[in-house]
């Protein structure tokens, strides 16, 4: 990895990792770069982008020490949250179907770094970390997972249905591929409003074989919509390897007339660079496909051990070679932005935050039973139930 440092560093340690914002002072007094520094540095992506029908972005990504440390912190939080969700599921505190994102964190984090909260994101059911990336809180996540009132969908959605309207997160969709046409519809509305925002519609390599994708892509290209179709290729559509399900697993090329970019989805900086490029492209020229080459460590859902269709060696190999968090950790250490101990302490702090959020979520009550009848239609039907065990329903038109 080629690094070009624009600022000097020194061996002196600043223990106060997050508080010291005095970048100028740091430059004047010979101290090492502190992690809240916003001086730009340039890092080159380890793998070049593969392109289809477009030139693609440069491999040199501009970032800052502050951003790199925040990447580490955000991804470590996501990882910890998913591991905790796994335990909560096994303890039967989370019911329903639950799909974990660990391994793919760089996509959520890198994408957020390139766009604003006015841009829209829509994804499938593996949505916990995307929600967190959009600014959701751990408490909202765990409450929703456990079906509590404090959840981001008031406990009515569960694992697959996270939403956050104030930052353009359109959720959380259960049916494979069904969110893509919907995402193109969001882009259609954005084109009308002319406020230079775009929509990122995420789908997996499994959904890439659904007809809906191609139907939506055709319309989006025909009308030059600011839609970015992001294929999070974790290489397994449920339990089926991509090459068993797709004639061409080069998903970035499958738009034919639509340009595409293949990105190392385990590298948050590469993701950021690609998303930045894609947003500019989409506003000028219409849809583009981003294929994020990534990997999920867990099985498809909690009922899939994830080891019947791939080897344990493959999983541990990816963990060792390509893990998105370890990559940033190495970068932070090699740039001397923090010490190993400081990062370890940060992880400990995250662990505590996650545990606190779980404890708090457990305190949150279940939704009121009357909520069963709300939100079915815009206006409530004045529904009431009566009879033994509420067998009969009576509803009054508003």
């Amino acid at each position: 990895m080629a690094l070009s440092r624009l600022s000097s560093s020194s061996a002196s340690r600043c223990v106060d990792l997050l508080i010291n914002p005095l970048a100028a002072a740091a430059a004047a007094i010979p101290r090492r770069l502190i992690s809240s520094d916003t001086t730009p540095i340039t890092v080159e992506t380890s793998v070049p982008f593969s392109v289809h029908n477009c030139d693609g972005p440069s491999r040199s990504v501009e970032t800052t020490p502050k951003e790199l440390v925040s990447f580490f912190k955000d991804m470590a939080t996501m990882r910890r949250m998913e591991i905790a969700a796994d335990s909560l599921y096994k303890a039967k505190l989370i019911r329903g179907f639950c799909h974990l994102y660990d391994g793919q964190e760089a996509v959520a984090v890198g994408m957020e770094a390139a766009i604003t909260k006015k841009d829209c994101i829509i994804t499938a059911y593996r949505d916990h970390c995307t929600f967190l990336g959009r600014g959701g809180t751990l408490l909202e996540c765990f409450s929703e997972l456990m079906g509590r009132k404090a959840g981001c969908s008031k406990g009515k959605g569960g694992s697959m249905h996270f939403y956050k309207k104030d930052s353009g997160f359109y959720g959380g969709h259960g049916i494979v591929g069904a969110q893509i046409p919907l995402g193109c519809g969001l882009a259609f509305a954005q084109k009308y409003s002319k406020d230079e925002n775009v929509t990122f519609a995420l789908y997996g390599d499994g959904a890439a074989n659904q007809g809906q994708l191609f139907e939506a892509l055709n319309i989006a290209c025909l009308w030059d919509l600011p839609a970015i179709l992001v294929c999070e290729n974790n290489h397994y559509g449920m339990g089926t390897a991509e090459w068993r399900a797709a004639k061409s697993p080069a998903y970035y090329k499958r738009g034919d007339y639509a340009p595409g970019l293949k990105v190392d989805g385990m590298d948050a900086l590469a993701v950021k660079q690609a998303c930045k490029f894609a947003k500019e492209h989409a506003l000028k020229n219409g849809p583009i496909i981003l294929e994020m080459d990534t990997y999920r460590y867990h099985g498809h859902s909690m009922s899939d051990p994830g080891s019947t269709y791939r080897t344990r060696d493959e999983i541990s190999g990816v963990r060792q070679e390509r893990d998105p968090i370890e990559r940033i950790r190495k970068l932070v250490l090699s740039l001397d932005l923090a010490t190993e101990k400081e990062l370890k302490d940060m992880e400990k702090e995250i662990r505590k935050e996650v545990d606190d959020a779980i404890a708090q979520a457990k305190e949150s009550p279940m939704p009121d039973p009357s909520e069963l009848f709300t939100n079915v239609y815009a206006k409530g039907f004045g529904t009431e139930v009566y009879g033994a065990d509420r067998k009969e329903v009576r509803s009054v038109l508003p």
Partner: protein, 358 residues
């Protein structure tokens, strides 16, 4: 629960609705007796083994089926019959059914799996417009009778919005396909084999809650149970209860509780929803004078409405109370409110009492 569901009525009467009935017992197996304790998942697995073994032109395919499927219903099939006859498809429900129709149109037995009934809607057009009407609109030149679509349906305790729905009523509105739902392992094996060999396209919904919970003596060999033939699984005089699939075990419990209060319930398993056995239900209602229908799907527009209307037409003067329906509520299938939404035993018991005392 298996014992509770054991058939108490007399031997099945033959109606000849389905051509598949003709082949029952050709191997001398009595479908009502004997066999090994088997759960519903294994019973389905056995039926698929037999189907593949007995017809070299039969195929099993769907999402993840070659490594056993999410519910392990297709375990071992690929080892025995090879990956040319048991194979995974891409995540593409429309494609799965569409290809199944084509395969069946060339005279093969296409046994397609849609992983959850909730995922069947992308394939709805293929089922409704292509499969169901192929024979009719080609003046009987073509058909896809070899097509059987298996799909797990219904509540499972914590499935949430997209892993719990009961979409049977949508398909009961489509002349040209059959809709079959078994209640137990023995029923599942016999009915599935009938569906696969029936010369019409069939949608076969499997109660996923019972995959491991329902255990019953299942004959090991090849046997079939007739389609479009309902079964009286518990005889009684005061009220007729009609249901199908997993709901029957809930209804059975309500019958037992009602009996303690001196109400004698007759319980009918409809088994085939389309075309359904009106005669058996009618005969039962003529005897009892009262009818209660129960299903998990929302009450409005559910198949219970069709049964109710037909029976009122046929037995108007014999009915001593309005037909009762105890069904899912008219809301999306909820996550945390599942027990509230479902037509539970107490709800049914209450409706039994109200109907009998009407």
């Amino acid at each position: 629960m298996a014992a509770a569901l054991r058939r108490l009525g007399s031997a099945a009467h033959w109606r000849g609705f389905s051509t598949a009935c003709q082949e029952i017992n050709k191997s001398g197996i009595h479908p009502q007796h004997g066999g090994k304790a088997t759960n519903l998942c294994s019973a389905i697995n056995q039926a698929l083994h037999i189907a593949l073994e007995s017809d070299p032109r039969s195929y099993v395919f769907g999402e993840d089926v070659s490594f056993g499927g999410v519910f392990r219903c297709t375990t071992g099939l690929v080892d025995q019959f090879g990956k040319n006859r048991v194979f995974n498809t891409p995540l593409c429900e429309q494609g799965i059914v569409g290809f199944g129709i084509g395969l069946a149109a060339m005279g093969n037995q296409a046994i397609a799996e849609i992983q959850f009934a909730d995922y069947i809607f992308p394939a709805f057009d293929q089922i409704v417009n292509e499969a169901a009407k192929f024979r009719y609109r080609s003046g009987n030149q073509f058909n896809c009778g070899g097509l059987t679509i298996r799909s797990p349906y219904g509540a499972v305790g914590h499935g949430g919005h997209y892993h719990s729905q009961s979409p049977e009523a949508f398909f009961c509105h489509v002349p040209g396909i059959k809709v079959v739902i078994p209640r137990s392992p023995r029923q599942a094996k016999g009915l599935l084999l009938s569906c696969i060999r029936d010369p019409n396209p069939v949608v076969f919904f499997e109660p996923k809650w019972l995959y491991r919970q329902s255990i019953e003596q299942v004959p090991e060999g090849d046997y079939m149970l007739p389609l479009s033939e309902a079964e009286v699984i518990r005889e009684g005089n005061d009220i007729t209860l009609v249901g199908w699939g997993a709901q029957l075990s809930v209804m059975e419990q309500a019958c037992v509780d009602a009996e303690k209060e001196g109400i004698s319930c007759e319980l009918v398993d409809l088994k085939t929803l389309l075309p359904w056995d009106k005669e058996t239900v009618e005969a039962s209602v003529r005897k009892t004078g009262r009818l209660l229908i129960s299903h998990e799907a929302p009450v409005t527009g559910g198949f219970g409405a069709e049964i109710s209307a037909s029976i009122v037409e046929r037995c108007f003067l014999r009915l001593e109370a309005p037909v009762a329906r105890v069904c899912g509520l008219d809301t999306p299938f909820p996550l945390v409110f599942e027990p509230f939404y479902l037509p539970t035993k107490n709800k049914i018991l209450d409706a039994i009492k109200a109907t009998v005392k009407y």
